[in-house]
């Protein structure tokens, strides 16, 4: 771009064709920066929030704990350094098939201990104590269930803590080996191509390149590209609408699909550079409430707000 050509120079067509950088199909945000930013974002959102300030601050405490454990006790490096092919057919580090390392249990215990110190009373403390007194086998079973979307074992109160530990494990696991994306045409992209989990929200980039959309994985915090103006769940594009509260140019919107009757938030980083998919999704709960009234269900779970177990 922007190269000056004097009249004596010849134009190399081949090089012109490759001038624009290809849009990366996968992005992996730096975990350290991500946790710091998420915590800060949650506290900023809490400050101005009329109705969820206490909850957002509490979630910021969980994120701070994730960050601290990540700093003090990162996942040990992998033995072999082979790369992984990501082809959108089979998730190479699938949440269903990977044999979890005991590391996640250590993270889980640490998380419960550190949060107990911060929250010694009330329903939070009761939940933390209950989880701490759970056997290793039961913890593994609860995790298995939660990874398939079944909240009954962990309970909606325990699920965010189990998820926070699993997420910290998977986020490091998928960053251990180089990933080689093989873009395959005609393959569904509704789930994370690396771990197979659903996204928490979609993010439109500030760039460069600006305006490209990525879905942010709720488990391994990877991002995969997904074209704009197409349903991220059923891939149809005929009955899409974009909803926002009060401002048509809002940075937080949600994309609804009249074909599958679901919606997923779409967060415009190019309108607010401080967007974090998890924090901003959580803080815009009012939008979810209004979308439910319009007949649309979320096609994503926020890692810090699980539904009641029996809910379908």
């Amino acid at each position: 771009m922007g190269r000056a050509l004097s009249s004596s120079q010849t134009i190399d067509i081949a090089s012109l064709a490759t001038t624009a950088e290809p849009v990366p199909p996968l992005l992996q945000v730096d975990l350290r920066a991500m946790y710091l930013h998420r915590s800060e974002r949650l506290r900023t959102l809490a400050k101005d929030h009329h109705t969820m300030a206490d909850y957002l601050s509490f979630v910021a405490d969980i994120v701070d704990t994730q960050y601290r454990i990540f700093q003090e006790k990162p996942l040990p490096a992998a033995q072999e350094q082979s790369s992984l092919v990501v082809d959108w057919h089979t998730a190479p580090l699938s949440k269903q098939t990977v044999k979890r390392d005991g590391y996640w249990l250590e993270v889980f215990d640490q998380l419960l201990i550190q949060l107990s110190e911060k929250h010694p009373n009330g329903a939070i403390a009761e939940t933390l104590t209950r989880l701490r007194n759970t056997s290793v086998d039961a913890k593994e079973k609860i995790a298995d269930q939660l990874l398939t979307g079944d909240v009954s074992g962990a309970g909606s109160d325990g699920a965010p803590f189990v998820w926070a530990a699993l997420s910290l494990y998977w986020s490091q696991l998928v960053r251990q080996k180089p990933l080689i994306p093989h873009e395959t045409v005609g393959v569904a992209r509704d789930l994370c191509p690396i771990c197979g989990n659903a996204p928490v929200a979609s993010v439109v980039t500030i760039g460069p390149p600006e305006g490209v959309r990525y879905l942010h994985c709720a488990l391994c915090e990877s991002e995969w590209r997904y074209v704009r103006a197409q349903c991220t769940n059923c891939e149809k594009s005929g009955k899409l609408h974009y909803w926002s509260l009060d401002d048509k140019d809002a940075a937080v919107k949600t994309e609804s699909c009249g074909d599958c009757h679901s919606h997923l938030k779409i967060l415009f980083q190019n309108k607010d550079g401080h967007i974090d998919p998890v924090a901003d999704d959580l803080a815009s709960l009012a939008l979810d409430a209004r979308m439910e009234e319009e007949g649309f269900a979320r096609s994503a779970v926020n890692p810090f707000l699980f539904p009641a177990p029996e809910h379908d």
Binding site: A20, V23, H50, T51, M52, D54, Y55, F58, G122, A123, I124, S156, D157, A159, A188, D190, L191, A198, P209, E210, G211, V212, V227, R228, A229, N233, C234, E235, L240, H241, Y242, W243, S244, L245, D246, D247, K248, D249, H261, S262, L285, A286, D288, A289, R290, E292, E294, A297, R298, S299, A300, V301, F304, L305, F306, P307, A308, P309, E310, H311
Partner: protein, 195 residues
């Protein structure tokens, strides 16, 4: 066609009972207290192709459609489509000003005719416009059609009228444009998208 693999959730109905927020001792009623205070806005994001030149840059067009039956949808913003394989979100200054073109007061909205010798433009129906164009083409073609050339070889040429077609057409539309022109024997055909 494709079966979804994502689960669907409704978390706010029923006052958020049983959700994390409630079971961890936070007040779910408070979390939803000001939901009605907001105005819910609905818009559409639609793909299109810039009508100006042969590059055919991809567009994303944003229109408001707040659901009320009597409110007409209105485009409020147009930007380059970052997913477009050719233009990748870029637009030239002319393309970047498209939203003003859409809402221009001078935009042609219906067929008009300025009769020979007249200074006034007069609104006519689509039917009349098409009939009159067809009549002109027929008269011109009947008068000037070249069935054979000087050597007596059949050529079936219609040289006195050409066709210039617009961009923002697909391959199929381009194919039909060419078919129409050639079926009349038209030789001079050009297209903004260079069919």
């Amino acid at each position: 066609m494709q079966v979804t693999r994502r689960q669907f959730f409704k978390i706010c109905s029923g006052g958020m009972a049983g959700t994390t927020l409630a079971t961890l001792g936070f007040a779910p009623g408070a979390a939803l207290a000001d939901v009605r205070a907001y105005k819910l806005l609905r818009a559409r994001e639609t793909r299109n192709t810039c009508p100006y030149c042969s590059v055919g840059c991809g567009l994303l067009m944003y229109s408001r459609s707040d659901g009320a039956g009597n409110v007409k949808e209105s485009i409020f913003h147009i930007e380059g489509d970052p997913d477009h394989p050719v233009s990748r979100g870029a637009l030239c200054p002319k393309g970047a000003g498209l939203v003003d073109f859409v809402h221009s007061q001078d935009r042609l909205r219906y067929p008009e005719v300025r009769e020979a010798g007249s200074k006034e433009w007069k609104r006519i129906s689509w039917e009349e416009a098409l009939d009159r164009i067809a009549r002109h083409i027929k008269n011109d073609r009947d008068a000037n059609f070249v069935e054979r050339n000087a050597s007596g070889v059949t050529v079936n040429r219609y040289n006195t009228t050409g066709l210039f077609a617009c961009t923002a057409t697909s391959n199929e539309a381009g194919y039909l444009t060419l078919k129409l022109a050639r079926s009349l024997g038209m030789v001079s055909v050009d297209h903004v998208a260079r069919i």
